[in-house]
Symmetry: C2
Subunit: 200 residues, 2 copies
């Protein structure tokens, strides 16, 4: 029996921090793990920037309220939820993704969470565990599932490599070149076909 | 962070085999684990009965086509899918539950599957693993989730006992008495309140 693990941002939803940067007009928030590979340093700098601009959780929700899933992602997710057990594995935070997940039909997601003050200030972030994507895949394999995984970026690599089969979705040229043994899907229709072939 | 595990039949959907027995007019299919505690003996006798009556998978789908989730279960499931990661843990089979799961919004389900011939004959059943409900709860705990579980019957017991907190949903008097330390919910509104209190 098969189970599918998908990354969220870049696969079903737009990149969250880039959207917040655009909508708040704070370009420093565009920095990603490609600019600052130490995730802890990056997240602390993001929280400092939010604090400096007095951006609370409700203000962020307001900024991303009209954000939409990637074109084709809603239909793709609906198809997949009816086709196989699906778990979204994301390094985002429950409180950020919540409003957008509803637009996808609320697939089950494993991620992290934020510590929020009563006034909505983001006090800290809490990783549920280190390398959670790989550990989740290994847990599903211990439950006798064959795991099919798809993702687009470096934080997906250990998940993709732990899975029984893996597909890259719209990777950067460098990421695709570094993982040239993995097939690439450029559209949700291609990703659907790749998953369907592995489920059959 | 919390994750919720729910049993399926008796909690969100009607008991599948009882519905098949009623709709096909084959009363022997009403037998459950209460009549025959050996699950393997029970399932083999069920498959023999289906075979004797030439009941293929499409015929079973036809028989249960107009079956509906329990009253209140759709709204409850929609609420829960938006509230926390939800995994349905069921000892049913993918091929039986599929059509009804769509009516619940296709929450992620871990269960078993059937071996089906090209003509739709049910050749065999395949348990994904023994005691899968307990093993799934333990896997989620290893991923640093606090697990809240709800179920109604004996095959839920190891899941309920492995979870961080547990609620019985409409248990028989005997099952409730044997687990008198666990709270009981009699309606989906009560189950929602019990889960909400544990998530808070």
């Amino acid at each position: 029996m098969h189970l599918v693990c998908l990354d969220l941002e870049g696969v079903l939803l737009p990149e969250f921090w880039i959207a917040v940067a655009e909508r708040t007009g704070i370009p420093e928030l565009r920095r990603t793990t490609r600019d600052e590979p130490d995730y802890d340093v990056l997240m602390r700098s993001r929280l400092d920037i939010l604090d400096k601009h007095s951006l609370t959780l409700p203000a962020i929700h307001e900024a991303i309220r009209d954000l939409e899933p990637l074109p084709g992602a809603v239909e793709f997710t609906q198809w997949l939820m009816g086709r196989a057990p699906l778990i979204i594995l994301s390094d985002t935070f429950t409180q950020f993704a919540g409003p957008l997940m509803a637009k996808l039909g609320n697939p089950t997601m494993f991620c992290h969470d934020l510590e929020i003050s009563e006034k909505g200030r983001i006090l800290n972030y809490r990783l549920r565990q280190q390398d959670q994507k790989r550990k989740a895949v290994e847990a599903f394999k211990s439950l006798n599932y064959k795991v099919i995984a798809a993702g687009d970026s470096y934080n997906d690599l250990s998940m993709l490599r732990a899975a029984d089969s893996a597909v890259l979705f719209r990777p950067t040229a460098a990421f695709a070149a570094a993982n040239a043994d993995l097939p690439v899907a450029s559209t949700h229709a291609e990703l659907k076909a790749a998953i369907e072939a592995r489920l059959a």
